[in-house]
Symmetry: C2
Subunit: 246 residues, 2 copies
């Protein structure tokens, strides 16, 4: 399957690891990538430490088609993502002329001083191209297969909307959910046999508990409609044979 | 600081990476560890693939005091965490006699068949000890410095409540938040200088936007009350000098 496009994500920020801020970007990226047929394969959350960021980014960019990062691109001393990405690529981190001009004009128009701190937001690894920020001006950037975006969810989402149309996208994974009135323990054996007999599908099983007791949601995924349908039929026949009422 | 206890977390499950399920366990673990003075340093989310789980668990258990995993310990074919942890430790994965007896009795009492699928939930790496599951019986387990727990949030939380009192805990990181009426770009420079002058504190800065415009929440963290107080005083003096009204 040569058209399988993969991705990794690096979430950067002490505030996520301390629990002070609850991440909202992982689920959004996962949804968006699934929608366009890119497989998110791994996420790493690391703190505001250059060594940790470099290690995560270098591992993931070698392993997957694309890497997306969130967090650490603001104006303060704890925003070290641009430096860390530059270090990961072995290039200097310098003012990006276009980002500098953009920010300078933005603050001039508002009569706000363009402080050294604000100038930090114009720094990118050399060779990076900018990702527009329609919400709060300070851009993200792209270098190699790595896309560096803000951690604030509204800004991250706006930047991602700019990035997604530029990506190579894959053949979309299609899925079908099957309501199963039995608990997982009842159907686990035969469901495993069906997975073995349908290798080009991915069959997931999710335990549910509510006032009716324990039941299961079964989800069959495949890149082929035909293979998906065959596996779904096999699951439904299995459930019928166990006496599930439709 | 010899009493700094660190942790890594591995979240296991295709459903998190596809966006179908939104993780609720990372933030809870982060909160609980912070509360007892254990530093969560890294989180990895991986799919239901043995190679990926082994790699993540082996990296993190070598790097941190403790590793916590969630997900993949149910009865179906896609629940492969016990096998993967056994592979990571190079030991066989076999029925744990105590877990087997527990589950056998549980299903017998309810007149429910103890199927091969349900028996899967009694499997652990050899040498593991059990983590009680007060919600739905099937236990988690501990081997070496790795704690393997369920992905269903209510079950994960109940298991974690059993585990936390058994851990070595560290000197608690204390923190103080400071409301700053200026945007990050205004205070970024002087705040960076304060961080440099107070190396045994961690000063974080979080941009906020609301109807009053852009402001900043500054959070100072330290393991020492004295050092925390000194850094907080320095931040407040800096804000006063910029004309912040109290």
């Amino acid at each position: 399957m040569s058209d399988v496009i993969t991705a990794g994500m690096v979430v950067i920020g002490d505030e996520i690891l301390s629990g002070r801020t609850k991440d909202k970007n992982i689920g959004h990226l996962a949804d968006m990538l699934t929608a366009v047929g890119i497989d998110l394969k791994e996420v790493r959350i690391v703190g505001d430490e250059q060594r940790a960021i470099v290690e995560a980014v270098n591992s993931l960019r070698a392993a997957y088609t694309y890497v997306f990062t969130t967090g650490g691109i603001g104006p303060t001393h704890d925003d070290i993502t641009a430096d860390a990405i530059a270090a990961a690529f072995g290039v200097p981190c310098t003012y990006h002329p276009e980002a500098y001009a953009l920010l300078e004009a933005h603050y001039a128009a508002r009569g706000v001083e363009f402080t050294e701190a604000r100038k930090r937001m114009a720094r990118t690894p050399e060779g990076a191209s900018l990702i527009a920020n329609p919400v709060s001006v300070a851009p993200g950037f792209n270098i190699g297969n790595v896309y560096v975006m803000a951690g604030v969810p509204s800004v991250f989402q706006a930047m991602l909307d700019k990035v997604i149309p530029t990506l190579r996208t894959g053949q979309k994974l299609i899925s079908e959910g099957i309501h199963c009135t039995f608990p997982e323990g009842t159907i686990g054996g035969p469901l495993g046999d069906i997975q073995k007999a349908h290798p080009e599908t991915i069959i997931g099983s999710y335990p549910k508990f509510d006032t009716t007791g324990a039941w299961t949601e079964i989800v069959v995924r495949s890149r082929s409609r035909e293979k998906l349908d065959a596996a779904v039929r096999a699951v439904k026949e299995m459930l019928d044979s166990l006496g599930q009422r439709s």
